[in-house]
Symmetry: C2
Subunit: 536 residues, 2 copies
């Protein structure tokens, strides 16, 4: 249970992180010069809970659900339903600030374990109630939106009570974790046995094991620990067709790998209740460093070489010139001034910041990465920069709150492509966003590198259009998504949800959509599972 | 085209390799002492083509197929149909020697490229003709058996003419190869550009790129180069629902990874026509060495440590005591005698042979593997043993012909499990085989190691029961498969085909079978694709 005193009351954080730090005036002025009007008079900055329509959950359905999980675990009050109504995208946060009406679940149901999840699903089939699985609520693509499809009512199935480490096999390096365990709690539970999962996406503090699996999450240390799908040895799901367990061996040729059909299924094929995960001994040492390379082309080429020569650090994150510039500007101070001076002295005019981090077996591996980076012309800045990034890496959401208070439209989006498409993709997305938004800062980094390609993560800052704040971002996102289609994937690690669903068919083909729909019908013939997500 | 002068005439090799080497008399005597009657009087050793029933392919269907691929590429004569009627399992080979009737395709169709494959499928839908994709014909699980399900006729769709390297992207380390390219030809084509695939299963010399993908193949160097599914960046399939292309990025969270549904689909979801593969520069150096460890438990623990400490060599193959003993006995000579003496002097009473091989970056990596092996108590024998294994590693099929000439029932089977189940699994399979076969040699090796577990590969030698040679092996295989179920996967790299289909449901669950059936119906509504395979 860790950080949750009472999992039934967690609306207090929904949509706004505690401890948002104020930006220095100098940084606010700099931002205003770049993107237009910015300031403390640009509210709303609070939370507004609108008057919700009443729960449409029929009394017999509610009674049946209460019989499964207990009356105290079927919540219908407005604040609980509102807290599970949306995720953490810019539009979600904006909606929470303005009280913009969004679909709201008719009840929040909190089962105690896999068996209760299975019973809840069977109950929902009988009463024809839609089910939206809810883990950390950190989706930025509408994954937890309470759509109901053709159902008259829908519940948020909150997995917070599935919070146990079920078993640990220290010989096979395998752990079974329940779906509702959050990132920090997973690490604490495993750490007691000397193991770590090593999965640290930016959503780490809130997101859950089940959510990581359902969305094909990728952590910041994916080069070392792998993407979440690489860690999944087995899954246990509740489905309307009965329980489904997969994964008996480290590798298999017994037909298609159905685990890889479940991972990324976003609640449309079942509710993941347990995940068997490959774990590793806690590393005895961690080391993070900062480098600077002159220009995006040189930086991307260096990262590609690291990946193709198998000397990637566990964390490898290359910022482009714009992101590096913003980072310097928002963190202005004597250290940054010193760094600027150093770069000027070395003749580096287009600095791109590169963070590299090793976890375990640091000495031998660091030597090889460092040698390759030297050959690539990268300038080593040192540990302070690396460690500062490591300690601040989950602060993004808090910074976003601060920026939104100032009237900034701030959002991220991401993709991935093969190396030979990467520059064209980056240019196309930047051009699309800039054309749609006018004065905007569009910055980009590579955070996940592979032998054949890399991810691209964009952060966009522009002055909010108060006349049409939703339309402003919807148009920009559409332009970016269309620019991505054909060059890269519509999502490298944010998943599909609602926002990316229109672009899925172009990526997986009409047969791919047909296959996903058919698979869903096979396990969910009445369509109760997460209506409207993934395949629409 | 390489080794194939004329791909339309390749029945000459079907079922019997050229150049089978005779076993020394001493080895034959040793074998006789262990398994009972063995000798040169135990024929049949030739090939017997029975009188086949005539082709049931209706004239309009044949004419339509000829219109697509040309009359010269629709073959209906007995020898061509017989050559594609079975694979290379012990029972397949036995059937060829005795002329035992098996299902035979009604025609062999050889399309020229992806478009023709698509047209052939559409033609087969119109005429309701079953389609068995045929690559190298090396299946040992009945994967190319000409079953027809509810169809009155069935064709073997031989992909031999899809033999091109379509494109190579040296920046992204990606190559597009057509499905009919065989292992050696793939290496030759890539080698011209300085790249290698590094996929060397025992079927390497004959098996094809499409077959590797369709069956989730794993090569002997899988620890270094990965399993075939790890190399697959993209696939192009012909399906009755139209062409299907997958793979736009090195990694994606755009829903489930459908590539991993296609890889291992064994022709039931479509005919793979092209595969986009991750390739690597040809290594500047290769080094193979032999080690000996005292006892299976110590050997398996050592390999586990290598995997979990990330210092596995690219090839890692641990033989158990029985396999090591047989290897010494069949290769008796002064070198073996010398080795036996060395082991006795060192007090190694239960020698287990360990072959390790590095491909590229040998020096640094070898030092780390060697240090770990030293700590595990392994005795380094040297390069001769390693290189001798490397050069002889594709001779298995030829040795099998020789043994079958001597009246030996010789077959292999394989599985994989998590480390903590591995010993129990090995014991269970050995016990099942021994109980079913009586006097038999059952040997085992680990050829693929992972952080969480390993494969087990069994080779069985026993004297053929001439009264019921088929029943003898069918019973043994059934006993082994039942022993595997619940402890490991029914196949680590041989796939499902017909032989393993009865055990698939226990492994992937009823929902898994339903999902596979539904996926098939979605792309193949009339069920023409490889009837009776995988999901039966």
């Amino acid at each position: 249970m860790s950080e949750l005193i009472d999992h039934r009351v967690r609306d207090s954080w929904a949509g706004r992180e505690a401890g948002a730090a104020a930006l220095p005036d100098r940084a606010v002025r700099w931002l205003g010069q770049r993107i237009g009007r910015v300031g403390a008079d640009r509210g709303p900055s609070g939370q507004t809970v609108p008057n919700l329509t009443g729960s449409t959950l029929a009394e017999p359905a509610r009674a049946a659900l209460e019989a499964v999980v207990g009356p105290e675990n079927v919540l219908v009050d407005d604040s609980q339903r509102w807290a599970r109504a949306s995720g953490l995208s810019y539009l979600d946060l904006l909606g929470r600030r303005t009280g913009r009406p969004v679909p709201v679940p008719d009840a929040v149901v909190l089962p105690a374990g896999p068996d209760q999840v299975q019973s809840v699903l069977e109950t929902c089939v009988r009463h024809d109630v839609g089910v939206v699985p809810f883990g950390g609520g950190t989706s930025v693509v509408g994954g937890v939106s309470a759509l109901r499809g053709d159902k008259t009512s829908v519940i948020a199935l909150d997995l917070a009570r599935l919070d146990a480490l079920v078993s640990l096999d220290p010989v096979s390096h395998l752990a079974v974790l329940q779906a509702g365990v959050r990132g920090p709690e997973a690490e604490r539970l495993l750490g007691e046995h000397g193991f770590t999962l090593g999965h640290v996406p930016q959503s780490f503090e809130r997101a859950t094991i089940g959510g990581f699996a359902a969305t094909r999450s990728a952590g910041q240390a994916s080069s070392g620990y792998g993407r979440f799908e690489d860690m999944v040895a087995g899954v246990r799901l509740a489905t309307p067709r009965g329980e489904w367990k997969l994964g008996v061996a480290p590798a298999s040729a017994a037909g298609p790998d159905l685990r890889q059909l479940v991972v990324g299924s976003e609640g449309t094929l079942g509710v993941i209740t347990e995940v068997t995960l490959r774990v590793r001994p806690v590393p005895s040492e961690r080391r993070y460093e900062g480098y600077v390379i002159d220009g995006w082309a040189a930086g991307a080429a260096a990262v590609r070489r690291l990946a193709q020569e198998h000397v990637l650090a566990d964390v490898t994150r290359l910022s482009d010139v714009d992101e590096t510039t913003v980072s310097f500007a928002l963190n202005a101070g004597w250290k940054t001034a010193l760094l600027r001076g150093l770069l000027a002295a070395r003749g580096i005019r287009q600095p791109c910041l590169l963070i590299v981090g090793w976890e375990g077996d640091v000495r031998a591996r660091r030597r090889r990465t460092a040698a390759a980076l030297r050959r690539a012309g990268a300038l080593r800045i040192g540990r302070a920069l690396g460690e500062s990034w490591r300690h601040g890496r989950f602060t993004g959401p808090r910074q976003r709150d601060t920026l939104m208070d100032l009237g900034v439209c701030v959002e991220t989006l991401e993709t991935a492509a093969y190396w030979s498409n990467l520059d064209e993709l980056r240019d196309a997305v930047r051009a699309a966003l800039t054309a749609a938004l006018g004065r905007a800062i569009v910055m980009c980094h590579v955070s996940h590198a592979y032998e054949t390609g890399a991810s691209l993560y964009f952060t966009v800052l522009t002055s909010r259009d108060d006349a049409d704040p939703v339309g402003q971002w919807v148009r920009a996102k559409r332009a970016a998504s269309e620019a991505i289609t054909g060059l890269g994937t519509i999502s490298h690690h944010h998943a599909v949800g609602v926002d990316h669903a229109p672009y899925l068919a172009a990526e997986i083909g009409a047969p791919g959509v047909d296959v996903l729909r058919a698979a869903k019908r096979a396990v969910d013939p009445t369509g109760i599972l997460n209506p409207g997500k993934l395949i629409g």
